[in-house]
């Protein structure tokens, strides 16, 4: 079936406002290649097609046939959600928006030549390249993630940790380690600690003298929703959770369950070691990162600040703009990147005063605290043209966890998933 522009417009239900913004008219459509089909990559692919009135050719490259969402993935661990609910297919991006989805892997960028080499597809030319490959890890010595899963990229690791948790008994101890910030999903580790603690409570496996859930945090304090998680650890989970700050992992012995940290040595029957996060190996190998192992970008365009990578944009968790690494935020960044790319392809400046004054992003997320109650967190960021960086404007967190928030979490996720993939 051949899909023309009118077909896509109808399918996408594009709004009236579209008609008032000039679109690109070129003999050969400009080409954008997006590497990585997570929340950031899917959103930028969809919005470039939508906002260009389907006049820009977009190819999305990912080695997997669909994305597996980290959002809601802690609910696999306590068996509150089937794994299939995390699967986000690329079918709408293809059929509704006309994105070319290619199952392949990027291996090399030729920045000055505007080309990228795919493992199977060879060299491809682009006018703009977007890299949205998520996070990579710096694993401590002795860590075997097949024995001690991180479950911080959803998929087989999530299933493995779920299986281990299903087998826990009255003698089991769960030890998790939280990496130094910045890492993906700031509230995520504390949320996971709560859900595992809740599993111990539900199964009657608690004891006053013997905390079952050891939370070893490389940071000096809780990194998100501090009020909420401190309250949970000190109230409903006070006999279950022991929170240890300033516990940076030196090394691990996965076979014996030992974790050696700056705050002492701990042993667990189930080890959930979330290693230090950094940009993916692809981003690092190409020389797109700085000394912090994240990719420096201009937060008004998400284009690399490195001169040899003009026209290369990095969005989502691999870039470094002082904003939380979350799916909601990745979506927000993808839209700023989309607007910048379409302006550049049309020869329109990206640094008009009106635009710079109105670069905003926001993040919202829900954190389940028990098997049917949740809290939430929200934050707004804006671009400060004087400092040339993103700054926090406002942050808020739920006053309490409850069932209403838990139900609303699925509504939020559903809209977020659809804005990215649907």
């Amino acid at each position: 079936m051949t899909l023309n522009r009118r077909h896509f417009l109808k399918a996408a239900g594009a709004g009236l406002a579209l008609a008032n913004i000039p679109t690109i008219h070129a003999a050969t459509p400009p080409r954008v290649i997006v590497i990585g089909g997570g929340f950031a990559g899917a959103t930028v692919a969809k919005y470039i097609r939508l906002w260009s009135n389907f006049s820009v050719d977009v190819t999305l490259v990912d080695p997997k046939p669909q994305h597996t969402s980290c959002v809601l993935s802690n609910l696999i661990l306590n068996n509150q959600l089937p794994f299939s609910k995390l699967k986000l297919p690329y079918s709408s991006l293809e059929s509704k928006y006309g994105v070319n989805v290619v199952r392949d892997k990027a291996v090399e960028i030729n920045g000055p030549g505007n080309q990228i080499r795919l493992k199977n597809g060879g060299w491809r030319s682009y006018d703009r390249l977007v890299i949205a490959t998520g996070i990579g890890f710096k694993k401590p010595n002795g860590l075997d993630s097949k024995l001690s899963p991180h479950a911080w990229i959803a998929g087989g690791q999530t299933k493995l940790l779920a299986r281990q948790l299903a087998g826990m008994n009255a003698e089991s101890t769960f030890v998790m380690t939280i990496p130094k910030s910045p890492y993906r999903c700031p509230p995520g580790p504390y949320e996971r600690a709560c859900l595992v603690a809740n599993m111990f409570v539900q199964r009657g496996l608690t004891s006053v003298d013997n905390p079952r859930v050891m939370v070893l945090d490389a940071n000096s304090g809780i990194q998100a929703e501090r009020e909420t998680f401190s309250h949970a650890f000190n109230s409903i989970y006070r006999n279950v959770v022991q929170y240890v700050p300033d516990a940076e992992v030196h090394n691990v012995d996965s076979s014996s369950g030992m974790v050696y940290t700056t705050a002492g040595t701990f042993q667990g029957d189930i080890l959930n070691v979330i290693p230090q996060n950094r940009a993916t190996s692809f981003v690092r190998r190409q020389g797109l990162t700085d000394g912090d192992n994240w990719a420096p970008v201009d937060p008004t365009t998400y284009e690399s600040v490195l001169s040899e990578f003009q026209g290369v944009h990095i969005i989502g968790d691999s870039q470094n703009t002082n904003q939380p690494k979350s799916a909601h935020m990745a979506n927000a960044q993808a839209k700023i990147c989309t607007d910048a790319i379409l302006r550049s392809l049309s020869g329109i400046p990206t640094d008009t005063i009106e635009r710079l004054r109105n670069i905003t992003t926001n993040s919202a997320c829900y954190s389940p605290i028990t098997k049917d109650q949740a809290s939430w967190l929200t934050a707004n960021y804006f671009y400060n043209p004087d400092l040339e960086m993103m700054q926090l404007r406002h942050v808020g967190e739920a006053e309490e966890w409850n069932h209403s928030n838990y139900k609303q979490m699925f509504v939020w996720a559903s809209n977020l998933f659809t804005d990215c993939f649907g």
């Binding site: 969809k46 927000a332 607007d339 009106e354 809209n415 649907g422």
Partner: protein, 133 residues
Amino acid sequence: MSCHSPRITMLLFVCSILPLQSTHADDLRVNRLLASQCAQCHGTDGYSVAGIEPLAGESAKDLIEDLRDMRKEDKPENIMDHQAMGYTEDQIRRIAAYYSTIPEPGGSRSNESEEKEEKEKEEEESEYEKHED
């Protein structure tokens, strides 16, 4: 924001030589980008697919009023009370302007309702100007 840096001075110059058409298009792009940051929860172009209020086709007047009320909350209780505090008056007006031009879910609006809304929008804008003064 300082207007004394060379970069900003240059920008002012560039903006001043751009034709009106481009400035208008720039405004629309800025409004669209701002408004798209609501779509994570309210759906692409305000077409919510689950449980959260759609914004497509909302009158600008109503949206501005709602967001202003949320920002004024002494004790913000829900996510939107907090989110509304993340935007300036001008940004709220831009977001509302964008969603009011999107057809509401389930079909186009009649000419009559569009005219009525246009009138309301004009009244709202003049009220807004007074408010700013």
